[in-house]
Point group: C2
Chain length 230, copies 2
DNA sequence: AGACAAAAGTGAATCAACGTCAACTTTGAG
DNA sequence: CTCAAAGTTGACGTTGATTCACTTTTGTCT
């Protein structure tokens, strides 16, 4: 809520003359997200209340609703944020990878590295007093997964990947990576490289033997995102 | 709430003289679970309230709390129920499977078959007006996963599986199966055999190449990946 | 600088759902 | 038939969600 030095710096750096109003808006939003991260981690998604979150920010309860409509929406924003950080990395790996194998290897490395570096954020999803693991399928997430599937489709077209069921393959890799990621994060010493090696070996060892799909669901309008009115 | 004919039948068959009291207790519990299944499917986990559930049963609100302490606990019971149905099948497959490969193949088949048959229950976990997917890590679930890991450990001991990181391997298979299962269920025509083939090929193709525990490929520079030219 | 309108923040008030409990009903044992 | 125990009921006090009239802050125009 206080204009920070960084704001001024950032502002200058970006050449954007942000007004104070916009700056506090950004700051408040960030403060809420940050607080939410902490509360979710402490109490678990189910147990946290909107008030727990705003209490940590020092803002008034009403202010919360200027930024988010519910705790669900905050959570969604957190997930989106994570996905938005990962996607460009995956895209970069995609670009520098010439074959499907390269891509899988590089992408898995990137994913586990990222996870290890942003541990805090992702612990949100599992942590707690007790047991409810929550995953949110945000637009950003769906798009991210879909992008991966697209890459696979491309590789099928250009021949580095046999014509397998790309939805299943994407789901396999994603499911495997996420579940392994959870375990990795829970370990005492997190070793993303080892996790990546493991996952890579499993996926790459097997993909040649996959049943070839005459059956692949033909991604009707693959890319068109449904506008989720929200 | 009404003593059904089946009750009498079951009672006789089992030789258990259930009193009316016990019968209604069972019936009420079942009614609540059944109602919950429906409500969760209709509204999604997040949006449903305890009262939505009991309303469907015709019982009074207070009665709910004689059976469960919260909606979380009902959900947990539903998950447990699913897991309790699957576990014996997996155990059976385990017994009749002589090698790791057999086990994986048979277990995956069993899992996808089951999922297809009990579609309704598992849609609970994903379904809704909107986007929050909830997974619950119940004791039963953890135990089920752990059991799978045990099997893998055994196979390592008896040599049909190299000494890989069994937690990661279990997590991989579980994550892959669950994520694929979600997709399978969402498809228009559910084909568990195809899904099982796919998953089996992927897992079995790759497990020989997995890094052996303790011997994890010594990523000299964990970060730099082999990137042949480019 | 001063005045004003728009934007954003505030917290008391309202509302919805939770979970409890005293009173009531049903069951089963004697 | 009687009675205590088990179980059900729904009204009630709580807690947290959400709204909104009011205040404060900011940016703009003179």
């Amino acid at each position: 809520m206080k204009d920070s030095v960084e704001d001024a710096v950032k502002e200058r750096a970006e050449g954007k003359p942000l007004g104070k109003r916009e700056r506090t808006k950004i700051n408040n939003r960030e403060a809420i997200l940050q607080a939410a991260r902490g509360v979710f981690a402490d109490l678990g998604y189910g147990a946290t209340t909107v008030r727990d979150i705003i209490r940590r920010t020092g803002l008034a309860s009403g202010t919360f609703y200027n930024y988010f409509r519910s705790k669900e929406e905050v959570f969604e924003a957190l997930m989106d944020e994570g996905m938005r950080r990962i996607r460009p990395r995956l895209r970069a790996e995609r670009i520098r990878s010439r074959t499907f194998e390269d891509f899988i290897r590089n992408a898995l490395h990137a994913y586990f590295e990222y996870l290890a570096s942003d541990r805090e954020t992702f612990e949100v999803m599992r942590r707690n007093p007790n047991t409810v693991r929550v995953r949110m399928e945000t637009a950003e997430m769906i798009a991210g997964f879909e992008e991966i599937r697209e890459y696979m489709e491309e590789d099928i077209r250009n021949g580095t990947l046999p014509p397998v069921d790309s939805e299943y393959l994407m789901a396999s890799v994603v499911g495997l990576a996420m579940e392994m990621g959870d375990r990795m994060i829970a370990r005492d010493n997190v070793d993303p490289a080892a996790a990546a090696e493991f996952a890579t070996a499993l996926v790459l060892g097997g993909f040649h033997n996959l049943p070839v799909a005459g059956t692949a669901p033909a991604a009707s309008g693959a890319n068109d995102r449904k506008d989720d009115g929200k």
